[in-house]
Symmetry: C2
Subunit: 192 residues, 2 copies
Amino acid sequence: MQIAFVIFDQMTALDFVGVYDPLTRLKTMNFMPELRWDICARTRELTDDRALRFTATKVDEPLTGYDAIVVAGGYGTRALMHDAAFIAWLRTAAPCPLKTSVCTGSLLLGAAGFLAGRRATTHPSAYRDLAPCCASVTYERIVADGDVVTAGGVTAGIDLGLYLVERFAGAEVRALIARQMDYPYATTNNQI
Amino acid sequence: MQIAFVIFDQMTALDFVGVYDPLTRLKTMNFMPELRWDICARTRELTDDRALRFTATKVDEPLTGYDAIVVAGGYGTRALMHDAAFIAWLRTAAPCPLKTSVCTGSLLLGAAGFLAGRRATTHPSAYRDLAPCCASVTYERIVADGDVVTAGGVTAGIDLGLYLVERFAGAEVRALIARQMDYPYATTNNQI
């Protein structure tokens, strides 16, 4: 199992780290010792929307060969959804069996064409922007449709991570990881 | 208002980013445009407990002059609580009027002597380790006592951030930031 976390300049750091924490615990808590992941971006160094610096582990390499991609959201998506080079790069993930996003990351999945015919969600402030990219905008915290799973805004990344944990490793592992994260909240809607 | 986020090698990234997101929105959403923060560590480059790289903005400088310090937790705390040089550095924050921590960051506040006579909390797996450092371990998500506010494990950092937002800017601003973070959960106990 190999996961690509897709990040970019002007992302929201919590969009990425909120989903990264539960997913990577599949390995660190030894439920899926074979799990590997890359932090994928088009540049080695980048910053979030508040100047916090991040470093990618894979730079501008095709997003092929992953079992899942996880795309962060944030302010930077508004420009990137119209950035032909970025979207062409993201499209290299087309063969991935599972394309997921947090917050306005769904606008990038949409710009890449991955939401065509799919139900999807995003940050509540971006429902209108998402509408032209997908079959229908669904006002739920986690929306799974075919090979695409989209999550609501920012903190919904934690719920997406736990959803994916359950999808990959079952409900018992999800409960153990949520407990280790000291996360007492059940996803408020569209529970799996 | 100036905040120091204290991070270190082998931290849990979400401990830091979960509290960083709501707090820094005080500036980015223009509620406290004068807010400043530093990412403080003893080395410029460091990694979380899963090899994710972070970059500090202030390196091994005294933690004086801040209105609040926010100390992350994670696996690295177990060694650092016995690291005299690190603890001496952390003690430079003694004059700060507000010392806060997420998860096992409270072990570091404790090792620095900041929890003496205080009620405090930590990750549920670390209650026993925290006990000798404080007056009493309190099994709540956010524990405020005098100049110290400690939070429970990992995801409790988000609740700590929202607690501090309310303390600095009021309940209405807290609600607006929580909505922008798409965070539907109320802190489950010890609400302010």
